[in-house]
């Protein structure tokens, strides 16, 4: 990750700018409010602890997104949301998060990192492809490919989860 020459922003400013975005990102990847809140907080804790270095990165938010995704995957492993949660949610006697959202979150977590971020930023946050490319530090054509492949994989994986 390249470092930038400009003066780094303060953590408080980063927090103001990113806390809701991280909440949303966490929600996309878990479909569970309390888990999303935990993930956003844990991510921000990590950002703060590494702020001296992270604040000098070209894109501290990219680093934060990566941490959040890692935490989300780790969390899903711990709680077995993919394997067990779907069954629990599918159970008629269990009330829980929307089944389709749980499934969507599970397959988003399974996507390769770049595709996951590209789909979330473009389709979730509604950012134009050019802005996604800027945020991910990748050429526009590459990001287009990530978005396309990510979407295709989501549909395929959702189909797979259904079975």
């Amino acid at each position: 990750m390249r470092r930038r020459a400009a003066a780094p922003e303060s953590f408080d400013s980063f927090f103001e700018r990113m806390s809701i975005a991280l909440l949303k990102h966490g929600y996309f990847l878990t479909a569970d409010r309390s888990t999303a809140e935990d993930l956003a907080q844990d991510t921000l804790v990590q950002v703060w602890r590494h702020w001296d270095a992270v604040s000098r990165y070209d894109s501290p938010e990219a680093w934060a997104r990566r941490v959040l995704r890692n935490l989300a995957i780790n969390d899903s492993l711990r709680h077995r949301r993919v394997a067990i949660g779907l069954r629990e949610v599918a159970s008629p006697v269990t009330s829980g998060p929307d089944e389709r959202r749980v499934m969507l979150a599970a397959v988003l977590r399974q996507l390769p990192e770049n595709q996951c971020h590209a789909v979330v930023l473009h389709d979730g946050f509604g950012l134009p492809l050019e802005e996604v490319a800027r945020q991910l530090g990748a050429p526009l054509g590459t990001v287009k490919s990530w978005v396309h492949r990510g979407r295709a994989a989501v549909v395929r994986l959702v189909d797979g989860e259904k079975t």
Binding site: R49, W63, V158
Partner: protein, 426 residues
């Protein structure tokens, strides 16, 4: 992906984002800083860490891969043939037990991993075995990615001289998770399956063999016997000898849930050997093309629907081309590295979908195009549709059609909506 799929995905994510906007932000700067102070310092960058014990896992993984590679090289050198894994009873030194998170979920050990042969077929000169991977352990355990090393051994336990082609999805030593790599959860009720493909065998057919697969973190392989008999009195199944100067190879696919490769819930089943291959005359080819043209690439989605009264088998990657009224438009095709679900049985009325990414088109703008699918030597085409071709990015390189393998089509997000653009010619 169709417009429907895309809009459903976007709508769902937008609804989730809107929901978050209604929440009161539970986070505060002081809370975050206090939590950081409480949890103490960390020397490990969490952006390259995935769990409390993941660094240990990476270290073990790096050691395991290094050991495997070293073993392959040493065995190959000692054999003097340039081929690897020719020794008998070789053990790859790997860490026996690795925990992957604070709740001490354990990697599946070889003692509890069970391989079983589902079927073995010979296609295109290669012998492909579908292997079922399950566990007999009452505890849940995890595996990571494809097997790290797979080899074939004779019934006497002697390794056949084959080179193992590493699956691209495995984790590079010392790095973060590779694209496509993932943990998979294994328990008694959720078996997985993968395919082992053996190619270029110039020796005597072994008659029978065993597949030995080393999984991440295991010091010994899981094994299954392999029946290579073809017919009574025959010499047995073995791959065609395509090049004596090159080693025989063994490759594996990324494991998928056994249920998804045999999606019974969707009314499909994995290949029964007696299933006849699909023919173009049985299939209706339809497409949604050019709707997602993103400048340098146009994305096309082609559906094949079994309009006949009997089930048939799609057992080869799609042979897809484009043509205008004047003739073929794209000469160069390549297979995109998506996870394959072949072979795929299409029951009457069922559809499969394949996707294509068309790039760099510098020819005259075709007003209307048709997708042509070739199966078993005969072709069927869709209706001609007006699609937006990709932009010309380099006049000196070929226009390319990257094609993904067939997947079952069950509609956007599992709904049973049929593909659009049916031409109804059959």
């Amino acid at each position: 992906m169709t417009r429907d799929d895309e809009s459903v995905l976007r709508a769902e994510l937008a609804a989730m984002a809107a929901e978050v906007d209604t929440w009161t932000n539970p986070l505060t700067v002081s809370q975050v800083k206090a939590a950081a102070e409480k949890s103490g310092p960390s020397a490990i960058d969490p952006a390259i860490r995935m769990g409390n014990r993941r660094p240990l896992l990476y270290a073990a993984g790096a050691m395991a891969i290094a050991a495997a590679v070293a073993a392959i090289v040493l065995i190959g050198l000692s054999g003097g043939t340039g081929r690897s894994m020719s020794g008998k009873g070789q053990r790859l030194a790997m860490n026996p037990t690795v925990y992957i998170d604070s709740q001490r979920t354990v990697l599946c050990g070889a003692d509890h991993l069970q391989l079983s042969e589902v079927r073995t077929t010979r296609r295109g000169g290669k012998v492909t075995t579908t292997v079922r991977l399950s566990t007999d352990s009452s505890a849940q355990c995890d595996i990571f990615d494809a097997p790290q090393v797979v080899r074939l051994a004779t019934s006497r336990g002697t390794a056949l001289p084959t080179d193992f082609l590493r699956t691209p999805n495995i984790v590079p030593p010392g790095s973060d998770v590779a694209p496509g790599a993932q943990w998979m959860f294994l328990d008694k009720k959720d078996p997985l399956s993968f395919e082992v493909t053996w190619a270029n065998w110039c020796g005597k057919p072994p008659g029978s063999a065993a597949i030995e697969a080393w999984y991440y973190g295991n010091s010994s392989p899981a094994t299954t016997r392999l029946d290579l008999a073809d017919a009574p009195g025959g010499s047995g199944l073995s791959p065609a000898c395509t090049d004596r100067a090159k080693p025989s190879t063994v490759a594996v696919t990324f494991p998928v849930p056994a249920a998804s490769s045999a999606p019974a819930a969707a009314g499909r089943s994995v290949r029964p050997l007696a299933q006849p291959p699909c023919t173009a005359s049985q299939l209706d080819v339809t497409w949604a093309g050019g709707e997602e043209s993103l400048g340098s690439s146009a994305y096309l989605h082609v559906y094949v629907t079994n309009l006949s009264a009997r089930s048939c088998l799609l057992d080869a990657p799609p042979a897809l081309s484009l043509r205008s009224a004047r003739g073929p438009v794209v000469a160069h095709t390549r297979r995109l590295p998506f996870q394959t679900v072949l072979p795929l049985v299409l029951a009457p009325g069922e559809s499969a979908v394949t996707g294509a990414e068309w790039t760099n088109y510098c020819g005259p703008a075709p007003s209307r195009l048709a997708a042509v699918v070739t199966i078993g030597g005969t072709s069927d085409r869709s209706r001609y549709e007006a699609i937006q071709e990709p932009t010309c990015s380099n006049t000196r390189t070929r226009s390319t059609l990257g094609i993904v393998d067939y997947a079952p089509y069950v509609g956007p997000f599992g709904t049973s909506a049929p593909p659009t653009h049916r031409d109804g010619r059959k």
